[in-house]
C-alpha cells in the first residue's frame, strides 16, 4: 500500500462495498482506510506461507444433513419485513435503465 490513498482509490473501495460517500467525507476516509490498510499490509512480512495449502476454516467434527425437504417459511410472514412488496413479491426499483445514468 502506498503512503497515502488517492481520492480515486477511496471512491473505488467505496464502490466495491456499495456504500456511497460524499465529497466531504473523502479526506476522512483517506486517512482512516489508509491506517487500516497499512495494518493489514504487515501480513506481507510474515513468513511461511504455503500457497498450495488447502484451507478450509474448520473441518473438524462438522456435520452433514440429509438432503430432504422441510418446512418453509410463510411468504406472508417473510414479506412483513420487506420495505416494498406487492402480493407475494418483493418489489425492487429499475435494474436496467434505458440509457439513463444508473
Amino acid at each position: 500500500m502506498k503512503n497515502k490513498l488517492t481520492k480515486e482509490e477511496v471512491l473505488h473501495v467505496a464502490h466495491l462495498a456499495r456504500i456511497k460517500i460524499d465529497e466531504g467525507e473523502i479526506e476522512k476516509y483517506q486517512i482512516e482506510l489508509e491506517k487500516l490498510l497499512n495494518d493489514v499490509d504487515k501480513i506481507k512480512e510474515v513468513e511461511g506461507y504455503d500457497e498450495e495449502k488447502m484451507i478450509a476454516p474448520w473441518t473438524k467434527n462438522t456435520i452433514t444433513r440429509e438432503d430432504k425437504s422441510g418446512e418453509m417459511l410463510n411468504p406472508k410472514e417473510v414479506l412483513k419485513n420487506a420495505p416494498r412488496h406487492s402480493g407475494n413479491y418483493i418489489e425492487v426499483p429499475i435494474v436496467i435503465s434505458d440509457g439513463e445514468e444508473a
Binding site: 473501495v13 462495498a17 476516509y29 510474515v46 462438522t62
Partner: protein
C-alpha cells in the same frame, strides 16, 4: 431474591414460595432502576410476563434454570421480538423465526427478558458504535463496559439478571466480562449452533454464556450446546455436563503462561494480579510454566483481514430490499444500495466493509485473506503443540482495565488492539473464559483469561471455579454508593 444462590432460588420455586413471575418482576424493577446504564435496546416485558404465568402450570422438576430470566444480545434473532444488531439498518427488524439457542432456552423454561446493547453488528470493543448509545460500566458510569457484548456484561454486573448470552468473534464476550467483573465463556468453535446469529465473521463467531459466577456459567452452557443441522459448522459432539469437574482440586494440573501475555503491552497492575493467581495455583499443587509461543504478536493483523473480509461478504445482504431500513423513492437499484447502506450503517461498520471488500477483491484475496487463513492454521498447530504438554493456558484477558467512555475513537486500529490477548483463541477456535481475579486502580475489575484445548470447556471451569473460591472477591458494584 435475585441475589440468592441458584440453588436457593430453585428450592423456593420448587416449594412454591415464589413463582417465576416474581423473578421476572424483580428483574424488570432492577432494569428500570439501572436504566441509566443503557444495557438494553429492547425489553420483552409483555411476553416475559405471559411466559412466566404459563410456567406456573408446569413442574419445576430438577431444572435449575427453570423460570429464570435471561438477557440476550441483540444480534441473536428472536421470533416476534425486535432484533437490531444495534444498527439503524435493522432498527425495526422483527424476525420471523428463532435462533437455535433461543429454542433451547425456551425448551428449558427460561424467560427472555430483553435484548442487550452492543457494538453495531458486534464491530467494536467498547459498545460505543451502538446506534443506541453505549452502555455504562456499573463499577463506574464514566467507563466503558467493553464490547461488543457490552450490554450483556452490564446487566450481569449490575445484578439485574443472573444469565445473559453474548457473542465472541474476537474477544467480545471475554473482554467485556473482564471490564465488568463477571464470568464470560467463549466455547469451542462449533460447540454452539450459530443458526440465527446475525453473522459478522462466520469462521470466528461463537455464542456463549455470561454470568455472575462460574457454576452458573457452566449450567447455561449445558443447555445451549449441541450439533444442529441448521448450522453445518456445529460440531458433532455428545452433550456433556460442564459442571462435572467443578469443585475438584487442581493438584498436578499443568498450566502454561505465554511470555507475550505478560509483556509490557499489559499494565503492571494487571500483571501483578495474574502473578498472584499464578502463585495460588502453584501453592495448590499445579505447575505454571512461562513459555514462548510463535505468532501471538501477529494475531491482530490476521483478525483484521479475516474479520473484515468475512464481514464485507456477510453484510452484503443488507441491501434495502428484503428487510430492514430502505431509502424512500430510489431512482434505480444501484441508488437503492448505495444510499441505503450509506444511511443505514454507522461509521465503524462502513469502514470495515470497505476495507474488507478491498481485501477480497481480485488478486487481493490471495495476498491477504488466503495468507491469513494459512497462518491461522499455523497458529492452531502452535496451540496444539502447547496442549500436548499442558492442560490449560492462562494470561490476562485485557491489557488495561476499562477506559473512559469519552476516550478518543479516532484511531481505527484501537478497537482491534484492545483485543490482542483474546483474539488468539478465536484464531485457533479454542474455548476461553474470563474470570474476575482482582481490582486495579479506582477499583476497576481485572480478569484472568483461561484457555482450554478444543472441546475441553470442563477443565477450564474446573480451574476457574477453584480460583474463584480462592480469591473470593466481592463483586457487587452496588455496595459502593458512587455506583449503581
Amino acid at each position: 431474591m435475585l441475589d440468592k444462590s441458584i440453588q436457593e432460588i430453585h428450592e423456593a420455586l420448587k416449594n412454591k414460595m415464589i413463582k417465576p413471575i416474581d423473578l421476572v418482576e424483580e428483574a424488570f424493577d432492577r432494569i428500570e432502576k439501572n436504566k441509566e446504564l443503557n444495557a438494553y435496546i429492547t425489553l420483552n416485558k409483555e411476553e416475559a410476563i405471559k411466559r412466566a404465568k404459563e410456567l406456573e402450570n408446569k413442574e419445576v422438576g430438577n431444572n435449575l434454570l427453570f423460570g429464570l430470566p435471561i438477557a440476550v444480545k441483540d444480534n441473536i434473532i428472536t421470533k416476534n421480538l425486535k432484533t437490531t444488531c444495534a444498527s439503524h439498518i435493522l432498527e425495526n427488524f422483527i424476525p420471523i423465526y428463532n435462533a437455535t439457542v433461543i429454542e433451547k432456552i425456551n425448551d428449558n423454561d427460561m424467560i427472555i427478558i430483553g435484548k442487550t446493547n452492543m457494538d453495531e453488528f458486534a464491530m467494536g470493543s467498547s459498545s460505543r458504535t451502538s446506534y443506541f448509545g453505549a452502555p455504562k460500566n456499573p463499577w463506574n458510569k464514566e467507563k466503558i463496559s467493553g464490547g461488543s457484548s457490552g450490554g450483556s456484561a452490564t446487566t450481569i454486573a449490575a445484578k439485574d439478571v443472573l444469565f445473559a448470552l453474548g457473542t465472541d468473534t474476537g474477544g467480545s464476550i471475554r473482554q467485556p466480562a473482564s471490564y465488568t467483573g463477571i464470568v464470560g465463556m467463549k466455547p469451542t468453535y462449533g460447540r454452539v449452533s450459530r443458526y440465527g446469529l446475525v453473522a459478522f465473521a462466520s469462521s470466528l463467531d461463537q455464542i456463549g454464556p455470561m454470568t455472575r459466577n462460574v457454576y452458573e456459567n457452566a449450567l447455561l452452557l449445558n443447555i445451549i450446546t449441541g450439533a444442529d443441522e441448521k448450522d453445518l459448522t456445529s460440531a458433532d459432539k455428545e452433550s456433556e455436563d460442564f459442571t462435572r469437574l467443578i469443585g475438584k482440586d487442581i493438584k498436578g494440573m499443568k498450566i502454561a503462561l505465554p511470555n507475550y501475555f505478560m509483556s509490557d503491552i499489559v499494565t503492571k497492575e494487571i500483571r501483578t494480579e495474574v502473578e498472584k493467581a499464578k502463585k495460588i495455583l502453584e501453592e495448590n499443587g499445579a505447575t505454571v510454566d512461562y513459555i514462548d509461543m510463535k505468532y501471538l504478536d501477529k494475531v491482530v493483523i490476521l483478525y483484521q483481514i479475516i474479520s473484515m473480509g468475512e464481514a464485507s461478504s456477510n453484510l452484503a445482504r443488507f441491501d434495502g430490499i428484503r428487510y430492514g431500513y430502505s431509502i424512500e423513492n430510489p431512482k434505480n437499484i444501484e441508488d437503492l444500495y448505495l444510499e441505503t447502506r450509506k444511511n443505514g450503517f454507522g461509521k465503524e461498520v462502513k469502514r470495515r466493509i470497505m476495507v474488507g471488500s478491498y481485501l477480497l477483491s481480485g488478486e487481493n484475496a490471495k495476498i491477504y485473506y488466503n495468507k491469513a487463513l494459512s497462518i491461522r492454521d499455523d497458529i492452531k498447530k502452535e496451540f496444539d503443540k502447547v496442549f500436548k504438554n499442558y492442560d490449560l493456558i492462562i494470561g490476562p484477558t485485557t491489557t488495561t482495565t476499562a477506559y473512559d467512555l469519552t476516550d478518543s475513537m479516532d484511531d481505527p486500529s484501537k478497537s482491534f488492539m484492545d483485543d490482542v490477548l483474546v483474539i488468539p483463541v478465536n484464531m485457533a477456535g479454542l474455548p476461553g473464559l474470563s474470570l474476575p481475579i482482582g481490582f486495579g486502580k479506582n477499583h476497576m475489575p481485572i480478569g484472568l483469561h483461561i484457555i482450554g484445548n478444543s472441546f475441553d470447556e470442563s477443565t477450564i471451569y474446573q480451574l476457574a471455579s477453584f480460583l474463584e473460591k480462592q480469591v473470593n472477591l466481592d463483586l457487587d458494584p452496588r455496595k459502593d454508593d458512587k455506583n449503581v
